[in-house]
């Protein structure tokens, strides 16, 4: 009797096994099919959608998309149903199969072969084998673990010690030579208005095109000056709605990329109040040779790589500034420095260039300012000197600590300091032009109170100090004594600061006319060059080239 049931069970088992097998294969095939084509992320539909964007009124295309979409959705939900039903069916078949097999095996008890004498289960041979395999297996395991541990040590050092490495300055940053070979920030390499490339044209004309190699329109406005590193020029632009960084190829003038920075965490909902002559993108960008940094009137600060990819971005808090923030950024080794003087008080911020993390936030007992810091090597140390009301303060760029301060300023400070040969020169309209001698106790060596500059920063050489006012007067002083050497009146005023190029000075007025004159005790005009449009920014001087940003276009001057 049991033999009959046994055979029935066997047949049922075979049938169930075959069915289960077929169903398993079907389900695996189903899985592989859907793995390759995800119906809800269909490539075909996305391609058609991009085509539709180009020709939005193509009804036939729309019909196609709709049909495909319906198919995709059906496919997805059918697939879901198939998985569900398939699983349940498979479960049922396997259950039947198991029941049958279990029944069959229950009819066959496991009896020992009593003809053989009983063997103990663990003979010394088997124990020896076990010991051997466990011993060698264990050795192998430890060896593998050892190798794994050693190999990984070389790849990634303990993360905890990375912090000390960074603060020891093993980060990568450009040398002083590399900095001087480029134009990485506001007013040139050290921010003091001195250009190291002196082989630039002295004559050009925007309207006729003489010595104009190219001219590229920049869609969004900004008063920030172009910065250059290698063959790339960087600018930023912003208006009420958009903040954008441009990268232009220095040789062709083509815009290589433009990156918008509109979704920065913490960015204020409403744009700040700014005046027309400050705008939303007044701060000049800066670069450390690997990354570029841009700051906007909203307090948004961003770091991009040279390809335009955003590395980090944050919001520093909207500056409390009734004209709009204008102080430009400076890099020092692996720090990004910012003079953040607002109505509520002054601060010097330093962010880590690589990560944007705040390194120090030095409070300053000063009023609001629109000037930018200069970073100069004064004798044995590097100083970051800031012009503000009422103090001119020098900070240690690495730590932010104050080195010295001199009280000599007043009013709403816009011009940045100048430096040459151990003396710092600061100016502000309604205050004075002050020359500060550095040393044990820095103090004001001489001062002058007429024809003062309101926006343009002064320029200093070993012998001369040149100041350009926004109503058109340019004055030249003897640097050590303050004796006024000459004064020239020009038709239009100056916002852009004078730049020293070799032994000449390039100075551009608000209408884009650049005057080139000798840096001498007597005024000697070398040339007057028209741009063809208004300009406020400071030109960038590179090898054989000058880059000037006008209101609408970026010009490349060269022969």
């Amino acid at each position: 009797m049991t033999k009959l049931w046994y055979n029935i069970a066997k047949r049922i088992a075979i049938v169930a096994a075959v069915l289960a097998g077929i169903l398993s294969v079907l389900m695996i095939v189903n899985y592989i099919q859907t793995k390759s084509v995800d119906p809800l992320n269909s490539q075909a539909i996305s391609q058609l959608m991009t085509r539709l964007k180009e020709s939005p009124n193509d009804t036939a295309l729309k019909e196609q998309i709709r049909a495909l979409d319906l198919l995709a959705r059906k496919a997805y939900f059918t697939h879901q149903w198939q998985i569900r039903t398939g699983s349940y069916l498979l479960f049922a078949f396997v259950l039947v199969l198991l029941l049958a097999l279990k029944y069959m095996s229950s009819l066959q008890p496991r009896l020992p072969d009593l003809s053989k004498s009983p063997e103990p289960d663990e003979t010394w041979e088997s124990k020896f084998l076990s010991r051997k395999y466990i011993f060698f297996g264990g050795l192998g395991l430890f060896f593998l673990a050892f190798v794994l541990g050693i190999l990984s040590q070389t790849e990634l050092k303990n993360i905890g010690i990375i912090k000390t490495e960074e603060s020891q300055g093993t980060a990568v940053f450009p040398s002083i030579e590399e900095i001087r070979d480029n134009w990485p920030g506001f007013r040139g390499p050290e921010g003091i208005g001195v250009a190291y490339h002196t082989d630039v044209p002295t004559e050009w004309s925007g309207p006729t095109g003489q010595n104009i190699l190219w001219k590229t329109p920049i869609p969004h406005p900004g008063y920030n000056s172009p910065i250059v590193w290698g063959k790339r020029i960087f600018l930023s632009g912003a208006d009420r709605r958009i903040q954008i960084v441009y990268c232009i190829d220095a040789d062709s003038g083509k815009i290589l990329w433009q990156t918008e920075l509109n979704d920065i965490l913490g960015s204020p909902e409403r744009r700040p109040q700014v005046t027309e002559d400050t705008g939303y993108a007044a701060p000049t960008m800066t670069t450390d040779g690997q990354r570029v940094f841009a700051l906007f009137a909203t307090g948004d600060i961003a770091c991009l790589d040279f390809e335009g990819n955003r590395i980090w971005a944050k919001n520093l808090g909207m500056p409390d500034n009734h004209y709009g923030h204008a102080s430009s950024l400076v890099t020092y080794r692996d720090l990004l420095l910012l003079q953040f003087d607002q109505n509520a008080g002054g601060r010097l911020l330093a962010l880590r260039t690589r990560t944007g993390d705040l390194v120090y936030d030095q409070p300053r007992d000063v009023e609001i300012s629109w000037a930018s810091p200069i970073l100069v090597i004064t004798g044995s140390r590097t100083e970051l000197i800031l012009n503000s009301n009422p103090f001119v303060i020098s900070h240690d760029p690495q730590t932010g600590q104050e080195l010295w301060q001199v009280r000599c300023m007043q009013g709403e400070i816009a011009p940045s300091p100048a430096y040459a040969d151990g003396m710092v020169y600061v100016v502000n309209d309604y205050a004075r032009l002050a020359a500060i001698t550095l040393g044990e106790t820095p103090n004001v060596a001489w001062e002058y109170i007429d024809d003062l500059s309101e926006v343009a920063s002064p320029l200093a050489t070993k012998d001369l100090v040149i100041m350009a006012a926004s109503y058109g007067a340019v004055t030249c002083f003897e640097s050590k004594t303050g004796e006024r050497l000459w004064i020239q009146d020009f038709d239009e005023g100056f916002y852009s600061s004078p730049i020293l190029v070799g032994d000449s000075v390039f100075l551009m007025d608000m209408f884009g006319v650049t005057y080139v004159f000798k840096a001498e005790k007597e005024f000697q005009l070398l040339s007057k060059n028209e741009l063809g449009e208004r300009a406020m920014a400071i030109p960038a001087f590179m090898h054989n080239r000058i880059y000037i940003r006008g209101e609408k276009n970026l010009f490349c001057i060269g022969d």
Partner: protein
Amino acid sequence: MTDKTSKKPENRRDFIRKILHAVAGLTAGGLAGILFSKSSSEEMVWQLDPNICIQCEKCSVNCILPHSAVRCVHSFSMCGYCDLCSGYLQPGTKVRDTGAESQLCPSGALKRTYVEDPYFEYTIDEELCVGCGKCVKGCNSFGNGSLYLQVRHDRCLNCNQCSIARRCPSQAWNRVPASRPYILKGDERKRFLKS
């Protein structure tokens, strides 16, 4: 065939066993005691924080269930009821209709009904929603962020190790007490605020 001599090792073995037995019992008890001091009476369930979520679309793919337990929900208190809903419509669509080419939702789960001028109501058919988050991304970009993803606890199996939580790029997933199983946005948040 037992004699006194073979009983001795037995007694010794049994004695060691008794000692270890007591030690094991105490350890188990002690461990249980320590754990009870850190315990909660509530079950913990999984939930994602919509304020951290970056809408990477991994929620729809990584759930062990074929149809993910994560679905989109709508905070009607936050919704702007816009005609040009950026969670419903593809960016740049000229025509606001229900055509597949105009919609963001790949499975057609987001439904649009006219309420009054100029407001439209947007509801989610949970059976169709796959939890991909495309509508959430759109709503966050140009709208109020009233559409967001949440784990639906009538579907979630509450695995000990959630396969989605493991792979979330922004660490938006956490265990929450079962009495406050949702992290909601808008006015609905009050429902599960700590009292």
